[in-house]
């Protein structure tokens, strides 16, 4: 460790980036709960340092050839030697920059959004906790360490979704998110343990270089890969564990922007990319992942087509974009997946933050309501939102266009064209629901004469300023990030991986995106449009989509009927009736038998006397004869 001076600088930067948010969390919890300004300062300061360190590391190591590793072994038990430390390579250099940028911007934005909230300090404490966990997760050197922070990220998500704990639905959503991701994590955990038992090594670098996997049978690799993928399914809200994410929108909007779209849910995809060489050892597992990504992507797109809640639309689109990333990775497009992750973080955070401005201003989540109240007159958020939606749909020249083309390119490389067809279908749906929302906001059917921008105090202006600044930064990123595709591709180091793929999928994707937007225009945008989508005209389909394909009903049935009222009740009954019943029965039998014997000893003493005489006489007779 710390061989050369350059290394100790690296180490210091890494330590600062991971430890400072933790200390700011502790400090806020312990000391500054009563002073919101100090708390916010601490938290934002820590996030700024993280951002600085991350950018510094990225700049310093832009020509990184081999991964850098710092590790100290944490002896948890004999025979269990788990290295804890940092693994720095190109993938997580990119990741920490994305994470810290979004963290920092969202925290600044929250200064405005959360300004009057009584739990302001608590909010920033949890934000710091999240920053710590997410940065550490990205830099983890071993799979177990990654799991450690993976769970902590889940915890901060739970705390932040249920941040307004007096709202019952929010706490319900937080619980659901935690338990559902936990279900995925159980598989992940089992996968880690299996891998550890069979290879004795959880070091990510070793797993990726496949040096730890010598002599491990392929079927075992497939099994553990699929189990580990379970964690990704939970965290990235893929099928079948996807329903927690839309519910998670109960949290404050900046939280949705940070955790439930840009960074935390991307942790699943990040893990996929992190272990990509390991996963790619098993073609069976890869095709399973590809299928799951596709199913999630299509399911979530259909759900987004009918939602009226602005945040839920973006939530569904998050699931479907994560599905795209997993499809890309599953199809072997490593760069495409990572690139889409990066661009998605930018434009999705932007979309949520814009929605947050509207929600903060108009206090409703309903898209039609927002349009009617005059959302389009708030210029900065509205323009940013259009930019974000266009990027999401994959329209040039925005960042989303480039990454989506890359994804399509990797899908086109597959021998089976079903995946590409599904992907193109997804592109169409994405463009359709994004622009459906935009047109509803832009062209409301009935106008309200109220003045949206007036009647603001100076305080309101300041809040708005804090919220607008991140929007502008993120819009800029969204516009220009796409042009960095080639440098990024070189940086990640997989240039030319796709080879010379045919160009027609790219053209088709662009055409379908435009077509999606056009359909949305016909149904929602043009003058006299009824603003009723084609899905809503088919009642059963509409129901199916609006009820999220009845996945929640299935889980409700499983938890309430089968587990709660079924097995758990049986256990309880067994306790009460069988075990306690038999023990109580034994005790009562003892007491009762005592009582029976006691009746022989009570009431007429003379009976006993008579009995004595009778016995004596009988004994006498017996001895006599």
């Amino acid at each position: 460790m710390a061989g050369s001076p350059a290394h100790s600088v690296d180490l210091a930067a890494l330590l600062a980036a991971t430890a400072l948010p933790f200390f700011s969390f502790l400090a806020i919890i312990v000391a500054t709960r009563g002073r919101p300004k100090v708390s916010a300062g601490l938290s934002i300061g820590a996030a700024a340092v993280c951002l600085g360190c991350s950018i510094g590391l990225l700049a310093f190591h832009s020509g990184l050839s081999a991964p850098i590793e710092f590790s100290t072994s944490l002896i948890a038990s004999s025979g269990l030697n788990i290295p804890f430390g940092f693994l720095v390579d190109k993938l997580n250099l990119l990741m920490i920059v994305v994470v810290s940028t979004i963290c920092f911007l969202v925290q600044v934005y929250s200064l405005g959004y959360m300004a009057k909230d009584p739990g302001f300090s608590r909010y920033y404490a949890f934000m710091s906790l999240f920053t710590w966990a997410m940065m550490s997760l990205a830099l983890s050197a071993s799979l177990l360490q990654l799991y450690f922070f993976w769970e902590l990220v889940g915890l901060s998500s739970y705390l932040l979704i249920g941040f307004w704990y007096e709202k019952w639905s929010a706490t319900q959503a937080g619980k659901k998110a935690f338990v559902m991701t936990r279900a995925g994590d159980a598989a992940f955990f089992i996968g880690i343990l299996l891998l550890f038992i069979h290879t004795g090594d959880l070091n990510i670098a070793h797993l990726d270089s496949r040096s730890a996997l010598a002599g491990v049978p392929p079927s075992f690799i497939t099994l553990s890969a699929i189990l580990i993928f379970g964690g990704i399914v939970g965290k990235s809200a893929q099928f079948p564990l996807l329903t927690w994410l839309p519910d998670a929108m109960e949290g404050p909007t900046p939280v949705s922007a940070l955790l439930h779209s840009a960074t935390m849910v991307a942790a699943g995809v990040y893990l996929f990319a992190r272990l990509y060489p390991f996963f790619s050892l098993s073609p069976t597992a890869m095709s399973v992942f590809l299928a799951i990504g596709t199913i999630s992507m299509l399911l979530a797109s259909t759900m987004a087509m009918v939602s009226r809640d602005i945040k839920k639309v973006w939530a569904y689109s998050t699931i479907s974009q994560l599905g795209f990333m997993i499809m890309a990775l599953g199809a072997g497009g490593y760069f495409a997946g990572v690139f889409h992750l990066t661009t998605h973080a930018g434009f999705k955070a932007l979309l949520f933050l814009c929605s947050g401005v509207f929600i903060h201003r108009f206090e409703t989540n309903d898209v039609f309501e927002l349009g009617r109240l005059g959302a389009r007159r708030m210029l900065i958020p509205m323009i940013s939102m259009v930019l974000g939606a266009a990027a999401l749909s994959g329209l040039p020249p925005l960042s989303g266009y480039f990454s989506k083309e890359a994804v399509m390119g990797s899908l086109a490389g597959l021998p089976d064209h079903v995946w590409l067809a599904a992907g193109l279908c997804g592109v169409f749906l994405t463009a359709y629901y994004s622009f459906r929302l935009i047109f509803i906001l832009l062209f409301p059917r009935e106008r309200v004469s109220g003045e949206p921008e007036g009647a603001h105090g100076a305080a309101h202006k300041a809040e708005y300023g804090a919220m607008a600044l991140p929007l502008i930064i993120l819009s800029t990123v969204t516009v220009f990030l796409g042009f960095f595709e080639t440098p990024l591709r070189h940086f990640i180091g997989v240039a030319g991986e796709v080879g010379q793929a045919p160009t027609w999928p790219h053209t088709a994707a662009l055409a379908l995106a435009v077509a999606g937007a056009a359909v949305a225009w016909i149904e929602f945008g043009r003058k006299g449009a009824a603003q009723i989508g084609f899905v809503e005209r088919i009642e059963p389909l509409h129901r199916l989509f609006a009820e999220r394909w009845y996945i929640d009903h299935f889980y409700g049935l499983l938890v309430n009927r089968v587990v709660d009222r079924g097995i758990a009740r049986l256990c309880e009954l067994n306790d009460r009736k069988v075990i306690d019943g038999s023990i109580d029965g034994l005790c009562e039998a003892t007491v009762e038998s005592g009582r029976v014997v006691a009746t022989l000893q009570t009431v007429m003493v003379q009976y006993r006397l008579l009995a004595i005489f009778a016995v004596l006489v009988l004994l006498a007779l017996y001895y006599y004869y």
Binding site: L74, I75, A76, S77, S78, G79, L80, L144, Y147, F148, F149, E151, L152, L155, Y158, G162, Y165, E166, W168, T171, Q172, G174, K175, F178, V179, R182, A183, A186, F189, I190, L193, L194, F196, I197, V559, V563, D564, I567, A568, R569, C571, E572, D575, I579, D580, I583, C587
Partner: protein, 493 residues
């Protein structure tokens, strides 16, 4: 076996401070309640300091039994006052010290029969300390019963829900346990032919024939297993927890159940290793049933203390699973889990006690929205619940991780079941947190005041211990392995 005699009898000093504390409390007139409490805090603080000292002064590189004190008591029967600690008992001594001290502080607001309560409490803890440090089978049995009888009185007099029933059930179950332990001890004493109750002399592989070991192990396992709430002997535990006053619940769940697991480890496993290997499958089956069963039954409860009681059954199942693997990791994980679970439940009951004292109900549907009113008190409970879920960063994670790892090696199917059960645990823990603390503030409790410093101190200590061990588990593992590694190496295969 290496034995280092003590330069100063630290272990006896711990016992003595319990006894002196009890006598002092008896001497003080009844009306001076505050003085009684201060004296209790003082003497339990001495116990805590001594146990912390012993924990850190223990020579980790030497291992073996340390701080040994040996005085012949009844030479003709081979009974001696023989104390010493090794890597297995040391964490438990520290645990007892912490729970004792925090338990006294938790009962700071007690107003009825203060003197009797604390006097009995000191007797209880003296028994527990004695059992953990004793190396003489006869004394181990005596200490077991010493710690048992105050429990009955403490629950029956100061308890709450169905207290007579709970107290009687607990006492009968534990007496049934001791009715199995005593014959087992005498059986081993007779079969050894050494005329000694000394644990160290009896702990020689090959001293007992395999059939003797199998028989004695079963008796000792069930006898102590009752105390460790092994399924299906667990139903006394939730009822007992619910009935007990919360300071006693802390000792009860935090320490007394550990006596059971510790007894299984020290007497059953260490004296009859062949029996252990023979019955390991049975232990594993009972443990895994306990894990699932406790979690599922906990899902249905509506009384805060019942929920925690059943979660204890589940968590103690993890300890049992660790013990049943017959591996070094299994033992390490089990002892670590014992410690972590002790601290966690102490925190739980301490928090529930606070809520009950203020609201006079433990019924979850009647609570709700407490977070708004008493945020700090709620935070402590939530930390305990998170520890119960096995969240990384808190101590329980490591215990579970190591146990599961060992289980995966030996019983892969059980390992899978145990990990999946974590999801159910998460579900019911979070459900309780949600229904108790979240939601709109209940106007009925609007006037409650948050934690006062006297009541905050014990909880802060417990949370700090959970956090420290969660971030640096080697602190404890390094101690435990000094006992587990030599023991497993000396095991006849």
């Amino acid at each position: 076996m290496q034995m280092e005699p003590a330069s100063f009898p630290f272990l006896s000093a711990i016992l003595l401070s319990c006894v002196v504390g009890m006598i002092t409390i008896i001497v003080i007139p009844e009306e001076k309640k505050l003085l009684i409490k201060q004296v209790s805090v003082f003497f339990s603080g001495i116990c805590l300091l001594l146990s912390v000292y012993v924990f850190f002064a223990f020579n980790r590189s030497a291992g073996g039994f340390q701080f040994v004190e040996n005085v012949n008591w009844i030479p003709s029967l081979g009974i001696s006052y023989f104390n010493g600690v090794d890597g297995f008992s040391l964490p438990n001594i520290l645990l007892t010290g912490i729970v004792f001290f925090t338990g006294v502080l938790t009962m700071w607001e007690l107003e009825t029969r203060v003197k009797e309560y604390f006097a009995l409490y000191f007797v209880l803890v003296a028994g527990v300390f004695g059992l953990f440090m004793s190396l003489d089978l006869f004394f181990i049995f005596v200490w077991y019963d010493v710690s048992l009888f105050p429990m009955y009185l403490l629950i029956a007099v100061w308890g709450t829900t169905r207290k007579e029933y709970g107290a009687m059930k607990l006492t009968l179950y534990l007496l049934a346990g001791s009715a199995l332990i005593l014959p087992a001890i005498i059986f081993l004493w007779a079969k050894s032919g050494l005329d000694t109750f000394s644990f160290v002399s009896l702990m020689h592989p090959g001293l007992f024939t395999p059939s003797v070991q199998k028989f004695a192990f079963l008796l000792l396992f069930i006898g102590f297993g009752i105390l460790a709430a092994v399924w299906p002997f667990h139903t006394w535990s939730p009822d007992g927890h619910v009935a007990a006053p919360h300071g006693v619940s802390m000792v009860h769940a935090g320490v007394l159940m550990k006596i059971g697991a510790f007894g299984v480890l020290r007497l059953a496993i260490m004296l009859c290793p062949l029996g252990w290997i023979y019955w390991a499958k049975l232990m594993a089956v009972l443990a895994i049933i306990g894990i699932i069963y406790g979690a599922l039954a906990g899902l249905r409860q509506t009384d805060l203390k019942y929920v925690i009681g059943y979660s204890s059954v589940s968590h103690m199942g993890v300890v049992g699973l660790g013990l049943s693997t017959v591996t070094v990791e299994g033992l390490n994980g089990a002892v670590f889990q014992m410690f972590a679970h002790g601290i966690m439940t102490a925190l739980f009951f301490s928090s529930v006690g606070y809520i009950y004292d203020r609201t006079h109900t433990k019924n979850i549907p009647e609570l709700g929205g407490l977070s708004r009113i008493v945020p700090v008190a709620s935070a402590f409970f939530i930390v305990a619940a998170l520890a119960g879920i096995g969240l990384p960063g808190l101590a329980n994670f490591w215990g579970e991780l190591v146990v599961f790892l060992a289980a995966f090696k030996v019983y892969p199917l059980f390992g899978v079941i145990a990990v999946v059960t974590l999801v159910v645990t998460a579900l019911f823990m979070l459900r309780v947190v949600q229904k108790t603390f979240y939601g709109p503030a209940n106007p009925r409790y609007a006037a409650l005041r948050d934690v006062t410093p006297w009541l905050g101190v014990p909880r802060i200590i417990l949370v700090a211990v959970l956090l420290i061990l969660g971030l640096y588990p080697a602190l404890l593992f390094n101690v435990i392995r000094t006992a587990s590694v030599p023991f497993m190496n000396g095991l006849p295969r």
